[in-house]
Amino acid sequence: MSIRDRLSGNEAIATAMRQINPDVFAMFPITPSTEIPQYFAQYVADGKVDTEFICVESEHSAMSACLGAEAAGGRAVTATSSAGLSYMNEVLYVAGSLRLPVVLAVSCRALTGPININHDYSDSLAERDSGFIQLYAENNQEVYDNYLMAHRIAEHPDVRLPLMVCEDGFITSHAIENIEIEDDTAVKSFVGEYKPENYLLKEENPLAVGPYGVSGYYMEARVAQAHAMINAKRVIKEVAADFEKTFGRHYDLIEEYHMDDAEIAMVIMGSSAGTAKACVDELRGQGIKAGLIKVRVIRPFPAEEIAASLSGCKAVAIMDKSEGFSACGGPLFAECAGACINMDARPKMIDIVYGLGGRDFTVAAAKSVYERLGEIARTGQTGPVYVHMGQREV
């Protein structure tokens, strides 16, 4: 039986970790993810898990320790944010190329500078090409559910890739919500045991990982890794289907909100989607055909699904909660525009960079975006494609 309980996003992740009881947790604290190892340390002290809890000296070491544990055949986890994730950067690519299914919880936080502890996606989206699968959540329930699905996706033999479970720093990581927590045994049976066929000290045939791959091998290794990410799309859907069957909550690569007949739409990630949905409800009440796509999975990128969903729209705003400094739009805009490039009739598309470093995103702000989209749909004039929203300016 599931129970309802009040948990922050961080505590929800720590609870999922306790239920899964991983072999190794290599931890290094950084705001706002610190609570995850903090809660978990209590579970270790109370004997609720038998995880090897290693306090390492940096995030680079945390991810490195996870790789060692995974290569040895264990299930390894860690958590980080912002500069900590950047400091892991080198090792994230190693995890991806070694195809070791580490699960990393990220409480997404702005990158310096100016130095800032609040939410945007500059940390996690900067790692979108690292070879990690990336799942994003709108609220605490989704963070918990994504974490329950994470190991099964990452460890699937057709995938075997590391995975980030991303939540919005402070907004989701620290805000407390009433959520459904599943029964420990039900979680254990859903997630299952991790028993890789090969591992470092396997007696019959010891494993060697990370060989030198010169130009005669590198291309083949990368193509194989790229195909694993393509396979991940199918596996994420399969695991979500089994999750729905087991626990009753539905997940997909994207969530479509009033998209069936939408003429104007927003593509958005994370907690902001909840705010924007309230705005869509308001506009629908006025007879305006507004819709929204929430992107749950950024890697692998659901390009076909987004293009299909946007195919009936006249004007679309891509909402970027990180600045990519490309001088022509944020990272989500580039991905969505790429997804639509071969459509026969493309909607007009603009990029709104908003909410950087925790700047508030409100229903009124969402409304102003839909008003602009309405104007574009009426006039056929796109106007400025790359704009920032919510900053003070003259």
């Binding site: 190329s97 045939n205 060697a208 990982v209 290794a221 194989a224 195909h227």
Partner: protein, 98 residues
């Protein structure tokens, strides 16, 4: 299970192991890494007292020892680091004249 001897620069990506993993030990024998060498040590057998101090110091196990005696370098794996030259108490190893 794929064996290291079957992994080569002719096989397609579909036949590579996951993450380039190698499922057996001791496979460096199959890879001739001696070509990295830019300088080459030379064993002067006349001066050698067979103390075999050089062998354990060699980082690449490129000094074969059998029945307590060393023999000629394994040039297919020697990287030419020169550690054997430094540790030999009898000047029985020197750089080859190029």
């Amino acid at each position: 299970m794929k064996q290291a001897k079957d992994i080569n620069e002719q096989i397609p990506w579909q036949e590579m192991t996951v993450g380039c993993e190698i499922y057996e030990p001791g496979t460096s024998r199959l890879t001739k890494t001696g070509e990295w060498r830019s300088k080459t040590p030379e064993w002067i057998e006349d001066k050698c007292k067979q103390c075999v101090l050089c062998a354990p110091f060699c980082p690449d196990a490129s000094i074969p020892v059998k029945d307590g005696k060393r023999s000629e370098f394994d040039y297919e794996h020697c990287k030419g680091c020169g550690i054997c030259i430094k540790v030999c108490p009898f000047d029985a190893i020197k750089w080859k004249e190029e």
